[in-house]
Symmetry: C2
Subunit: 112 residues, 2 copies
DNA sequence: TGGTTATATTCCTGTCAAGGAATGAAAGCT
DNA sequence: AGCTTTCATTCCTTGACAGGAATATAACCA
């Protein structure tokens, strides 16, 4: 359930940019807005989403709000990814092999 | 750019369910729809999105379309995750330490 | 050819998220 | 007490997306 919030939060490119920025250290809302080319309200909203996803912590410093990345929830992503990780290891040839497992009719199909 | 499509595709819980299902082997649209409790049109649409994200391949087998998972694009996720992985290793105590680095004023702030 | 199965696509509708402008709220300074 | 800075929130509008129903398409079969 928190998982859904995490995916949703990271689905937005701007939010991924913010997260990436925070990887380089804590920032105030203003700094984040400027660095990510967001309006101040927009930055605030995105940060709220990230906060609710547990990816970001705030600490008040005078009138400023310093935001810090909390990478912990990303462990959930890592965990989600785990079962697949082995797959793309055996991937290219094994996938081909598995495709052959089926009766097969037509060709490998066009990709995108 | 394909990166955005990947995140967007995985943002939807139903689609993650489909991906998880396909991890257990190739399936027809009907099987997928039933297993994931989706209507047939809905399944088709979600599969289209997954296809365009490169996560799924199709192969025609008579009137059926057998869908196979292609885990390769997930490597991009893994790569994205990489810089953060070290963070949650040092995570809990190091995060605390980094928080102390700043002048500090108030407390750890309420979480969610 | 006509019918059936399996899937794709279209159309429509409702919902929800995002962005901008404006305003509100809190803290500090003089 | 005012003024300024920094940020949050609200209001409104727009666009994207999801779901369902109905229809189109394609392959197979009798």
């Amino acid at each position: 359930m928190s998982d859904a919030a995490l995916w949703a939060a990271l689905a937005d490119p701007h939010r991924r940019a913010v997260v990436a920025l925070l990887r380089t250290g804590p920032r105030t809302v203003g700094e984040i807005a400027q660095a990510c080319e967001l309006s101040q309200p927009s930055a605030s909203k995105h940060l709220k989403v990230l906060r609710e996803a547990g990816l970001v912590r705030v600490r008040q410093e005078a009138q400023r709000r310093v935001h810090t990345l909390d990478p912990a929830p990303l462990a959930a992503l890592d965990a989600w990814l785990a079962p697949y990780r082995k797959l793309w290891g055996e991937s290219l040839d094994a996938l081909g092999r598995r495709l052959d497992t089926r009766p097969d009719t037509t060709e490998p199909t066009s990709k995108d």
